[in-house]
Subunit: 224 residues, 4 copies
Amino acid sequence: MARITKSPEDRKEEFLETAMTLFDENGYEHTTVDMIVNRMGVAKGLFYHYFKSKEDLLDIIVDRLIVQTKEGIDSVAGKKELSCLRRMRELFDAISRMRRNSYALIDFFHEERNRQIHHAIESQVMKSLVPAFEEIIRAGIKEGIFDTKYPRETAIAFLSSTSYTGHLMKGKSDPKEIRRYMRFLQDYSEKVFGAKPGTLSFYMEYTEEAIKTIDKMKPKNGGS
Amino acid sequence: MARITKSPEDRKEEFLETAMTLFDENGYEHTTVDMIVNRMGVAKGLFYHYFKSKEDLLDIIVDRLIVQTKEGIDSVAGKKELSCLRRMRELFDAISRMRRNSYALIDFFHEERNRQIHHAIESQVMKSLVPAFEEIIRAGIKEGIFDTKYPRETAIAFLSSTSYTGHLMKGKSDPKEIRRYMRFLQDYSEKVFGAKPGTLSFYMEYTEEAIKTIDKMKPKNGGS
Amino acid sequence: MARITKSPEDRKEEFLETAMTLFDENGYEHTTVDMIVNRMGVAKGLFYHYFKSKEDLLDIIVDRLIVQTKEGIDSVAGKKELSCLRRMRELFDAISRMRRNSYALIDFFHEERNRQIHHAIESQVMKSLVPAFEEIIRAGIKEGIFDTKYPRETAIAFLSSTSYTGHLMKGKSDPKEIRRYMRFLQDYSEKVFGAKPGTLSFYMEYTEEAIKTIDKMKPKNGGS
Amino acid sequence: MARITKSPEDRKEEFLETAMTLFDENGYEHTTVDMIVNRMGVAKGLFYHYFKSKEDLLDIIVDRLIVQTKEGIDSVAGKKELSCLRRMRELFDAISRMRRNSYALIDFFHEERNRQIHHAIESQVMKSLVPAFEEIIRAGIKEGIFDTKYPRETAIAFLSSTSYTGHLMKGKSDPKEIRRYMRFLQDYSEKVFGAKPGTLSFYMEYTEEAIKTIDKMKPKNGGS
DNA sequence: CATGAATGAGTATTCATTCAT
DNA sequence: TATGAATGAATACTCATTCAT
């Protein structure tokens, strides 16, 4: 009825946000253009005013997520003046923050809810996250607190296992379980990075925040 | 035109094989019943002579893969008279063999090419693979060659990272890269399981076979 | 498995019976050839050994019902030596018996569960039932117990209303309701035929039988 | 090709009209969505722009017919200030008008061209038409021109027989036959309602209109 | 007489996309 | 910028019928 005209930027943004939410909820394939415009309360035609096609929209979203991810990661990676532990923690924070922005990307390593996203992301993420993490590991080796001959592979394997185990944790809300998991993660990390026990004690500090983060991830199926 | 009548078992098998191949190539959603029957050169109706629906077909495939997986894993898990290293190796062999049977399941930890498969498989695999692996780790601890306080979590994290890194290796055919990866894997495993360096030397023996396996995985995009 | 070879007549009969039952349960359109052969436990091909097509089967069934109906009616109509009341009663009995044979035909006036049956039957039934009833009315007029200028139309209207109201009664099993209905029917009939009150007292005798008949009609949805 | 955009109301109406016509011609089951859109000269998708499913369309049609029927009947039933004869006549007019709107409903008592329609309608019609007619009969009894102990049953039986005999008349166009039929109907009605001969003389006035009505009903089988 | 594998035309439904207003 | 009616290709599934064995 009421024809509300927004600025093009805002509208586009609104489309992007709505689509991301719906992609998260249903996956790309199972999200229809109708669902998007209905949730926004606008007409179908408007969608094609802003995007060439549904895939165009996807591309834009993926590009965005990649850029955001890269920025987040690079901002941490660049701080070479910080200690490797500090940078590691900030990297985890960055990843954690990314999660809030988008599930699609966060679960980059696992959630292949839709192949198309996956492909684009995988290569991109591997090009920024892994090198950044690798660099931190190398820094740690130089600092003498880490010890491994395979910094790159360790980065990959570690990111992979934490991402997956984190995935498993998503359903859990019992703080006890989470704390046990974090303690394990510290142990596991120290072994993998070749660090002395206790080196990565910041994990436990990180735990509480993680609990909250995980908490916020849950309310996923609460839509109408 | 030419009316070729096969035995129902063969035909059903043919459907299953064809469908699995196509699901691998395009995912469940993007594989149409038409694609399946066309590739087989039979009429559409025949599909519904053998399966109640497309989803029925999927269920059968998933069930099969799960059963095969379970059988492979359980056959290894049961051999408690063997040393933990021997069983570990046999478990890897079993997993490797599963890969040949089906990508869908192999990538159980990652490929969520289709959610429906993923869900069914994840729980099933977690119920058989992880406990089996956990048990082996516990056996290793008793034997005094492993040392970790978190056998279960280690099992999960380890399977997850190897599965994923293996996933990354799929594209690679350079034996050098593969050997480097396997050397890393040995190192990583020894750290994670709390084993002395050299304990898991069987990895390198395993490498050659893995190279062949990975080789066979490649011809994937040879379709239309 | 066991290949049971029956005489062609028996088999055909079995098909006819099974089909009639299923047509009653689901209607012609919603009864598939598969349903018929499955219920009989024979192969699909056998159906086409006995019938040219599904419609061929229907034609045969309809023809049969019509012949049976005619025979039943004519056997009553022919007994011109009996009193009109006696013949009327026998006609009702005949109709009632027909009901047991087949719902499709019984409800000839109403149940147009399938058009094709309806058409064939309507003309046929009108050609035998109505004239037979008309003749009885005329006999009643001659006997001096009925009085109407429109024997044929009265026959049609009467058969129509009783058939329909009977249709409504099907669901009812309360004897009280049924008896009230029968009392009304007597009253209604006497008026319509121009008979003195009490003339058609045989209705009430007929009631108990009707109750049983109706009782047997009910278990219709008790299938698997 | 030519993209003609109509107002949604008109389009929906057009769908409804076209569908009703086709349902009348072929029955619900044998009317395909393709037939509807082809007759309208629009694309298939448009159908689903206006209706959730074919059954949704049916529901809407049935609801409409029921509402129209009810309204027609209730408008007559409410006029309690009029004489019972006047109301009876108006009720017949209302029924007659309904016929023009829809065969499906008109033949409410008989046409079970499709069970789904039948069920919904039967109960609805029974809930409005029968009570309305019953009430008129009771009014007639009070006025002293009718006499029966079973107003409700008489209403049912009468409506049933007239509806059916009317159904039979459909094919007839010979005014002589029709007039004879109407004369019979008057006689029959007077008997059934317990009225004195001549009471329902309005029937004959009604006849001419009925002839026209029946005339319009005929062109039915002019399809493929 | 009997089997059941195989056929293929038909049917409802979905959904990205276009376009006149 | 905004609307939503209109398009049409694609897709899963049904079922009467055929035919080699």
